[in-house]
């Protein structure tokens, strides 16, 4: 016999069932408002799959093998041990034993299987600990929710049976419920007494089994302190997505697409390019700070470091975006641009970025400053963009907004990406930094050294201080830059031609 069948349960515990039906009706009219989203959406749909597996496990021929076990004075029918459960799951669900144990713990956490010993801790132990299958009546997928009233009846019933049998936390809950549900208390006590008497009328073995099942049910739905209940789903999600939202697709149909082979090829190429830089695939040099508790890796790769590492310099060559994204790379690029006297493109791009991501209040003055510096005819750092873009930008600046420089910024970015970037990679500036770059030796710590490292983990400078320093540097640089001598600029440009 594998636990009590649902029908048997229903006949034995009619008061509970009658009330459950009553409550369900009550809930249908009132609770549906709050439960709107949860009811319609299959948030617990995963449990249906779990249910199917649990039913399989209880199959008399292919399921988990159990036996009658003696526990204290009574004999518990069909008890199963933890290791047998794990073995069955591992075999039938094609997992290794660690995963099987994790899955088994989920079964216990949701209340499909309950422990007989140490019943408050809902985990599956890989040893001879005893478990039983919970009766389907108490499965979590049932439509009725574990209400406070039911809990109060359960605690009251236990109180009637023997005074002082409640745990401390249960006693607390009981007192709380007594205050909270005071208006129903007579009903609750009456129900508790009915159930108690109904229970007494049964055979002792059945009674013990049912008590265990009910107790397990309430451990799952009202977890003891410092334990977790898998029934906890977090916040309700609020909007009922069953309201049909009609997506318009005309524009989507007209969208331009790329062949799968092309775009997937690009994904693979990215992965291959960055493979050696991924600390999860190839160990980083000198060592991963999280592994060895030595933060040299971070020290060597700081923003303002004088000599970068070889890996870092290599990464700059992957794409223009990588170069710009790394502040050290950007600084090196600026050195190159200074030699070429074409720093205005990058300066414009940086200024446009500041406008785009800046605070709303400062926008108009930034836009004006950019116009005067880069776009106005005869501006000191005039950028060379085509007539159409210039026209659009200037027109846009009549009603300046955050993205007014977008067209010009993209044009300049593409220019730098397609031309300047490649010249940079071939330039002596880049070759020099490649030569100068260091390649640190991998660390080889002994176990005792690792222990020492662990004790001496170094704290780092607060990012707030780093930020403040950076801002000071920027201000100094801006002040030092000053107005650029145009004649000298033009002279050097003519010289190059």
């Amino acid at each position: 016999m594998i636990g009590l069948s649902t029908a048997a349960c229903r006949s034995l515990f009619s008061p509970v069932c009658v009330r459950a039906v009553q409550q369900e009706y009550y809930k249908m009219t009132i609770r549906s408002d709050r439960d709107h989203g949860q009811r319609y959406r299959p948030r617990m749909s995963c449990l249906k799959k779990v249910e199917a597996i649990v039913v399989q496990m209880q199959d008399p021929s292919t399921g988990v093998k159990g036996a009658d076990q003696k526990l204290n004075v009574t004999t518990i029918p069909h008890a199963i041990t933890g290791q047998v459960i794990i073995a069955w799951i591992a075999k039938n669900m094609n997992m290794d034993s660690d995963e099987a144990q994790a899955f088994g713990t989920m079964l216990v956490a949701f209340g499909y299987i309950y422990p007989l010993q140490d019943h408050k801790k809902l985990v599956l132990k890989p040893d001879g600990s005893l478990y039983r299958f919970q009766t389907p009546y108490f499965w979590p997928v049932q439509k009725w929710k574990a209400e406070d009233t039911d809990y109060a009846i359960y605690l009251a019933k236990r109180n009637i049976r023997k005074k002082g049998v409640l745990d401390a936390y249960e006693q607390e809950e009981y007192n709380k419920l007594h205050t909270w549900l005071n208006h129903k208390w007579d009903f609750i006590v009456m129900q508790a007494k009915e159930q108690y008497h109904a229970g007494k009328a049964r055979q002792k073995a059945d009674r013990v089994v049912f008590d265990c099942q009910e107790r397990a049910y309430w451990i799952v739905h009202r977890p003891p302190p410092q334990t977790y209940s898998a029934m906890d789903c977090g916040l309700d999600r609020h909007i009922d997505p069953n309201v049909e939202e009609i997506i318009y697709t005309q524009q989507a149909v007209m969208r331009s697409r790329v062949k799968s082979s092309v775009s997937l090829g690009a994904l693979v190429k990215y992965m291959t390019t960055f493979k050696n830089h991924d600390p999860f695939l190839v160990p980083c040099l000198p060592s991963n700070p999280w592994q060895t508790d030595n933060d040299s890796y971070w020290e060597l790769n700081m923003t303002d470091v004088e000599v970068p590492t070889k890996m870092r310099v290599e990464r700059w060559s992957f794409s223009f975006y990588e170069l710009l994204n790394d502040p050290r790379g950007r600084a090196d690029f600026k050195v190159f641009l200074k030699k070429e006297f074409s720093g205005e493109n990058l300066a414009f791009w940086e200024a446009a970025e500041e406008l785009k991501w800046g605070t709303a209040a400062s926008m108009s003055e930034k836009a004006e400053h950019i116009f005067k510096t880069f776009l106005a005819p005869g501006a000191p750092r005039w950028i060379n963009i085509d007539g159409r873009t210039m026209g659009l930008t200037v027109k846009g600046l009549e009603h300046p907004h955050r993205y007014v420089l977008d067209a010009a910024q993209t044009h300049i970015f593409m220019l730098m990406k397609k031309d300047t970037f490649y010249r940079y990679l071939k330039s002596p500036v880049y070759k020099e930094i490649q030569k100068k770059a260091i390649s640190p030796e991998p660390h080889n710590f002994s176990d005792s050294q690792l222990q020492q490292n662990m004790r001496n983990r170094r704290p780092s400078i607060s990012p707030i201080i780093t930020w403040q320093k950076e801002q000071e540097e920027k201000a100094k640089a801006a002040a030092a830059a000053g107005p650029i001598d145009i004649k000298k600029l033009m002279a050097s440009k003519l010289d190059r031609k």
Partner: protein
């Protein structure tokens, strides 16, 4: 105007017809241009501000296609047209039928260029070796479920938020707590570290996103300088700073996402298109950096243009709520984790789903996903207390991590890819990294909360 034309405005119309509780009607959220302004902070392109084709006034325009022809109407005229359409007696059912046929057409168009599967391309790539991960740090200090975390750009600090309203900034490397803030609400589901490292943003059941500037003074009460930035009509599910400390992107249970200016608290742009709670968003890392992806309870993942507020692409292949979305490092694809126990990869240029990461034995939903630095590995935290690591190319699982005693609610890889951190409902955060082979030994660790 024929039947098919009205399909183009259905997004606007259905929002007004299907009275969604708690959602804000689109038009009322539009930033109104000041009449005499030389400047106005409207976040769209220059060419979309101009004279409306219908009423002739200088207003922000919506670029839409009418029978394959682009027209520029202001939002008021669009709404008028939509309402007119209903009056001519077209029923919802005929329009639905048209919409369905367009959807099929879209799928056909998408399939036309689909010439190869991901696993075929992956055949030429060598397989990954043995994967062994180890928990390096366990951060204990939260009194309740950890709901969200974010890394600082200095690669070692993190901010985490929990159900009891506490937001803590840690140096994860030394495990020291550096700052702590108590929010006035519970269920702080969103937190983000500012790019400068000088502030954190968080929000949750208070429907707001607040920015707290961090201070070097340990005794200072951070709540005093708090700035209330975003205001939604339902819980805040996710927030993220853009490239600077000055703007925040938020998503909410009211079905919308929004872009805010931090200093003034002004709404810069709002994004409508989800029909249920939006649970997660992620900004694109690409050089143009103008798009973001959001995933919601309506099983859709939408890609948005931040400038115009328009929904650029939409994917609906999941079978249940999408809990988490994350861009591939190159910005050309993104991954999602959902309650249907699968994670999926969507390619933006090919405009389709290209991979599903699932197993028969994985039954519980994925709550959070993130990529490793090269994009080869996908870390996913699940509701069955485990973290699975997938090989993005081959579609196989390469490692499984145990150790958490309750749901894993958030998984994030550090900015330099050296470690990833997971936060869980068991009140702890753990950072994990690869086990090195410098000593020549490979250990198989079952993580027991060390």
């Amino acid at each position: 105007m024929s039947v098919s034309d009205w399909l183009l405005f259905l997004l606007v119309r259905s929002l007004s017809l299907a009275s969604l509780p708690g959602s804000i009607p689109f038009s009322s959220l539009q930033v109104q241009p000041q009449p005499d302004a030389k400047m106005c902070d409207q976040t769209f392109l220059a060419i979309t501000f101009g004279p409306c084709d219908s009423c002739g006034l200088n207003k922000p325009l919506m670029n839409i296609y009418l029978k394959n022809e682009p027209i520029n109407y202001c939002s008021l005229c669009v709404e008028l047209m939509a309402c007119q359409g209903l009056a001519t007696g077209e029923t919802i059912h005929t329009l639905k039928a048209e919409s369905e046929s367009l959807k099929t057409k879209l799928e056909e168009e998408r399939a036309k260029l689909h010439d190869v599967e991901l696993h075929q391309v992956a055949e030429k790539v060598e397989a990954l070796g043995q994967f062994v991960m180890k928990t390096r740090r366990t951060l204990k200090g939260h009194g309740n479920k950890v709901l969200c975390m974010d890394w600082c750009r200095d690669k070692r600090r993190i901010v985490s938020s929990s159900q009891d309203g506490k937001v803590i900034v840690w140096d994860a490397y030394t495990t020291n707590k550096e700052h702590a803030v108590t929010m006035p609400c519970t269920w702080v589901m969103a937190c983000a570290y500012a790019p400068s490292g000088c502030a954190v943003a968080c929000g949750g059941l208070d429907n707001k996103c607040s920015v707290y500037p961090l201070s070097l003074d340990k005794n200072e009460n951070l709540s005093a300088k708090k700035k209330s930035v975003a205001m939604h009509t339902n819980y805040l599910s996710s927030c993220s700073f853009t490239n600077s400390d000055m703007q925040i992107l938020t998503s909410s249970g009211d079905g919308t996402c929004a872009l805010w200016d931090v200093e003034s608290g002004q709404l810069l742009q709002s994004f409508h298109g989800h029909s249920a709670d939006v649970l997660s968003l992620n900004l694109a890392p690409s050089e143009t950096g103008n798009t973001f992806v959001s995933g919601g309870c309506d099983k859709k993942a939408n890609v948005w243009d931040m400038r115009s507020g328009q929904n650029v692409q939409s994917f609906e292949t999941h079978e249940s709520d999408i809990n988490s979305v994350k861009y591939y490092p190159s910005g050309d694809a993104f991954a999602t984790g959902s309650d249907d126990a699968t994670c999926r990869l969507y390619d933006l240029r090919a405009d389709r789903e290209v991979a599903i990461y699932s197993k028969e034995s994985i039954i519980f939903g994925a709550s959070s996903v993130d990529f490793s630095l090269s994009g080869r590995l996908l870390f996913a935290g699940y509701n069955d207390y485990t973290i699975n690591v997938w090989d993005v190319l081959k579609g196989t699982r390469v490692a499984i991590l145990f150790g958490h005693e309750n749901r894993v609610s958030t998984v994030r890889v550090s900015p330099d890819g050296t470690a990833f951190c997971s936060g869980s409902w068991d009140n702890t955060l753990r950072s994990h990294s690869q086990v090195g082979c410098s000593s020549g030994k490979w250990w198989r660790w079952r993580l027991n909360g060390s």
